[in-house]
């Protein structure tokens, strides 16, 4: 009897310790965080790949967690899903498994090589597998179209037309009707890096304090007269759009999707305006990577393959509004809101004056301070009305120091550099 009891205790102890080994593949992601999206991932996208524990993490905490696991040498995460720019510091520390075999397989099944090359993060081996992609667009309530200036094509707007449109709407409704996500968690910094600077200066870092940039800031000040002052509180533009606080907004497609999917007939979605140097736009790529020391590498590879299948990619597009990284045609029965967003993305990519601006690379954990340079300039020039030239000079110096500290080389649309990207 005693033997049986001690055997029982021993067995249950062994089981208790053994079960984590048998347990799930831990998949940590900075993408698809909102509860509805995470539920889609858990219940639909990952339904058939065995037991996967999908954990979401805010980008700053994600960086801290990965660094903590690296320093401790104790790994719990087998798979990470994050943006190109969030994975690049991990790759810089040599903490990601090379995924070349997987990449070869996916290239054969139709993933564009250019996209796969992005996943190398400038290294010789594949660091991550492109998972899904998105970009930023503008959305407007259909009733705003009547105020468009004469002769303006909503799919090929320029800044002067947007300003005039804003003025017409304000005159008609008595309130500013354009909104930007300049709140604490909004993605306004990406507007400057991917849209404003490339459109006005054709660069992001090199041209930071150029005369073109100064002219652009003057234009933005003119536009801001028709932008609602509540913009500095907006994080996601879908809420103010659907609440009727603004008629026209710029934001990430995933942050517009709820409003547009809920009432696709009420909206038009179109590319951001063009400046003198073209129509800046920033493709956003999220990737899947396996950290070195992952407890369940095989399981993680299985999940990557599953998420890269055409059916899963199409399901992802229709459920959460991120688009496939594979060359697949979107089905005609797609969610009407997603179809609208997809149309605007295609229009942006196809526009003749498009200027592609990549997400910052090589800044490591200084990405936040890089964003701050743009947001501080915005606060000082537009909100506090300080002289443009002085602000650009001061912030340009901060930017130059940041580039020197991180030794980050230039990325598109700036011309390539040897060594740190210079602020000219």
């Amino acid at each position: 009897m005693k033997h049986i009891m001690s055997f029982g205790i021993l067995a249950s102890t062994v089981l208790a310790f053994a079960s984590p080994v048998l347990a799930q593949t831990v998949f940590v992601s900075t993408q698809l965080r909102p509860i509805e999206e995470a539920t889609v991932v858990r219940e639909e996208l990952l339904k058939d790949v065995g037991s996967v524990d999908y954990v979401v993490e805010e980008p700053p905490q994600f960086a801290v967690r990965m660094e903590a696991e690296r320093q401790a040498g104790k790994h719990t995460v087998s798979l990470v899903g994050a943006l190109h720019g969030e994975l690049s510091p991990l790759a810089d520390r040599e903490t990601l498994e090379p995924l070349d075999d997987l990449a070869k397989k996916l290239a054969a099944s139709g993933m564009p090589q250019s996209l796969l090359d992005l996943g190398k993060l400038g290294k010789s081996t594949q660091q991550y597998i492109p998972w899904m992609q998105a970009t930023y667009v503008m959305a407007a309530k259909k009733e705003a179209l009547q105020y468009l200036p004469a002769g303006a094509d909503v799919n090929a707007l320029n800044y002067d037309q947007l300003i005039e449109w804003g003025k017409n709407m304000q005159d008609a409704t008595g309130q500013p009707q354009i909104g930007f996500p300049a709140g604490p968690k909004g993605l306004m910094a990406r507007y400057f890096q991917g849209y404003f600077y490339p459109s006005f200066t054709g660069g992001v870092v090199r041209t930071f304090q150029s005369a073109d940039a100064a002219a652009g800031w003057e234009k933005l000040k003119a536009l801001w007269a028709y932008v609602t002052p509540n913009s500095t509180s907006y994080d996601f533009m879908q809420e103010p759009l659907s609440a009727g606080e603004v008629m026209v907004a710029w934001d990430h497609i995933a942050r517009l999707k709820n409003a547009i999917s809920a009432a696709p007939d009420d909206y038009v979605v179109f590319p951001a305006p063009a400046g003198p140097k073209g129509r800046g736009y920033m493709p956003v790529v999220a990737g899947l990577a396996i950290p070195k020391g992952a407890p369940d590498k095989a399981g993680a590879e299985k999940v990557i393959e599953h998420l890269s299948m055409p059916e899963t990619q199409l399901l992802t597009a229709s459920k959460v509004g991120f688009f496939p990284t594979l060359n697949v045609k979107l089905p005609p029965d797609l969610d009407a809101g997603v179809a609208l967003l997809a149309g605007a993305v295609t229009a942006t990519q196809a526009s003749k004056d498009a200027v592609i601006s990549l997400l910052p690379v090589g800044l490591g954990d200084k990405g936040g301070e890089f964003n701050k340079v743009y947001m501080d300039s915005f606060q000082r020039i537009v909100l506090q009305n300080e002289p443009v030239a002085d602000v650009l000079k001061a912030q340009g110096a901060t930017m130059a120091k940041l580039m020197a500290d991180t030794r980050a080389a230039c990325w598109a649309p700036d011309a390539k550099s040897d060594g740190p990207c210079p602020v000219e």
Partner: protein, 283 residues
């Protein structure tokens, strides 16, 4: 018995001392070192970065303005509320219970409650619009309306933080012996004289605790401001949060943390000096 084993008290407080050392002193020392070092060498670079930041002066100014505006109002309100319930017989517990409801609500929730009232599509605008006082939604919380924003944050803070002051002051008022007041009444002292000459001096220890607690908390105000003002109303803790969370620069965040600690310590010392409490009245 006790005298033969003088170490027993020390043994008894050892766990809490160890706990404090581990979870308070160690992070404190680490934070201070983080703030005053750069790449492992002592340096004032982080402090310089903090002071030259565009939001530094504004955040210091806003934090102090808010503290100066909020704390006296809270003390006055709490004194008034405490004196009022002292006169109430039946239902006193119920009134106190209702007044302390904000204590049970987290800072952020309190901020969100006020956000739902004050935002563009909020209850206040709907009410004013419904009454025909305003023709369209007014925005109270934008960078263009700094006075309204400041008032909104101050009101939300007063609403949220007065309960704790009241609890301390009611406890202090309960300790004032009835005999003193009765004696004063016999000698013909009016209500004001009784309040100024008897009640206030006697509740000085409670007042001191309440002031220290509220002032320190006012310097650490964050969630309410974050919910209502976001980037529009920078405060010290908010800046520490931004540097830590968004800018990923732990050293500058630590510099802010140290600055907040210094200000809180200074405020506490000032109160301890200014509102001297007789040693025999200390707990």
């Amino acid at each position: 018995m006790t005298n033969s084993r003088p170490w027993i008290p020390y043994l008894l407080i050892l766990p809490s001392v160890a706990f404090l050392a581990l979870l308070f002193v160690v992070p404190l020392v680490q934070t201070i070192w983080l703030a005053v070092s750069d790449n492992g060498a002592p340096s004032l670079a982080n402090a310089e970065r903090m002071v030259t930041d565009i939001n530094f002066t504004r955040s210091v100014k806003n934090t102090f303005l808010l503290t100066i505006a909020v704390v006296p109002v809270q003390i006055a309100l709490a004194l008034a509320m405490g004196t009022m319930v002292a006169k109430v017989g039946r239902g006193r517990e119920t009134i106190l219970w209702i007044w302390t409801i904000p204590l049970g609500i987290s800072d952020l929730a309190a901020g969100l409650v006020w956000l739902s009232i004050l935002q563009n599509t909020g209850y206040l605008n709907s009410l004013l619009f419904g009454l025909g006082i305003i023709g369209r939604q007014a925005s109270w919380l934008s960078y263009q309306t700094p006075v309204a924003l400041f008032l909104a944050i101050a009101v939300a803070e007063i609403w949220r933080g007065t309960a704790i002051v009241m609890v301390i002051i009611v406890a202090g008022l309960n300790q004032v012996p009835k005999e003193f007041k009765e004696a004063a009444e016999i000698f013909g002292a009016g209500p004001w004289t009784r309040f100024w000459r008897i009640t206030l001096p006697l509740i000085r220890p409670a007042l001191q605790s309440a002031l220290i607690l509220r002032t320190v908390l006012a310097f650490e105000v964050f969630a309410v401001v974050y919910a209502l003002g976001g980037r529009n109303f920078p405060v010290l803790v908010g800046e520490a949060y931004n540097w830590q969370n968004q800018n990923q620069n732990y050293s500058v965040a630590a510099a802010y943390a140290v600055l907040i600690m210094i200000i809180s310590l200074a405020a506490t010392l000032i109160y301890l000096k200014a509102l001297k409490v007789d040693p025999e009245r200390l707990p």
